[in-house]
Amino acid sequence: MKSTLAISSIIFTVSILTLPMVWSDNDFNWEKISDNSSALATTKNPLYKEECGSCHMAYSPALLPAKSWSKLMSELEDHFGDNAELDAQTAQSISQYLLANSAEHTNSRDARKFFQSIKSAQTPIRISDIPYFKHEHDEIPQRMVTKNPKVKSFSQCDACHAKAEQGLFNEHEVNIPGFGQWDD
């Protein structure tokens, strides 16, 4: 009996202590995650740059977990409404690169925040659907992005983050076309 009580109290104490670490939409403590470099890995792979970067910014592979890249690469025929089919060999090389450099393998603090905000049951393929992405952009009104013809979508990182291709997303360097500097 005594030992049951002791175990229960230990479980209770541990639960209370770890409760704040459990992810919830509003009170997740982003700063808890240890600080390394904030820059995201930039894209050095020439094949990825050529094949993916000719239509859109070549997003850092660290922005999505491996399961997301796998899903996205298996659906290239309907790639957010566009056809982005690749021959099997090219697709395999790009997949290898993406999986080897996905969010799980990053040293970047920012990329880890993206990764840790994703619930285990989710497989987002749109970077702008990731909870941490939403958290970081929730104060930006529609008229500045989706209704702004110079931006059009949250997917065009480099429209407002001039150094996005270099993996730099400093919030003090945000410049929204037609609206100017954004600082929150």
């Binding site: 239509c55 859109h56 910014m57 409404g81 056809n83 089919e85 690749l86 059009k152 997917s155 065009q156």
Partner: protein, 138 residues
């Protein structure tokens, strides 16, 4: 003076190099299409197809080649969804165009499917190729 001559020679040989690569690439592809039943490649037809509007899904119900590449092949285009600039299609202003069979096949496949909802026929591809190649005559 000598330098200028050398430079001019170098530049013109480079340009000629691209032009030759482009001519032979197109020739090779046309030869392939002729084995698939194409007898003549018609640039006028290619131009008409380039500007023809097709019905598509969702965000872009009306779409054509020109949606992204514009009607003027010497101009820089813009990806209709991502806004990313697309270098001009005309070899006269962008000598790298039509120099890689692999690239041509890749983009024909993707872009025909997006624009028309199916792959282009050998006839359509032949027409488009000679249209792009001879764009300056239109």
């Amino acid at each position: 003076m000598k330098n200028t001559i050398l430079l001019t020679a170098l530049l013109s040989s480079l340009t000629t190099g691209f032009a030759q690569a482009e001519t032979s690439t197109v020739k090779n592809l046309l030869a392939v299409y002729s084995t698939q039943g194409v007898t003549t490649a018609d640039a006028q037809q290619g131009r008409a197809l380039w500007q023809k509007t097709f019905t598509g899904k969702a965000d872009f119900p009306s779409r054509s080649c020109a949606s992204c590449h514009t009607k003027d092949l010497t101009q820089t285009g813009k990806h209709i969804k991502t806004n990313k600039p697309i270098k001009p299609m005309a070899p006269s202003v962008n000598p790298q165009r039509l120099t890689s069979v692999k690239k041509i096949n890749k983009w024909f496949k993707r872009n025909c499917k997006w624009t028309m909802g199916r792959e282009c026929t050998a006839q359509e591809k032949s027409d488009i190729l000679v249209y792009i190649e001879n764009e300056s005559k239109f």
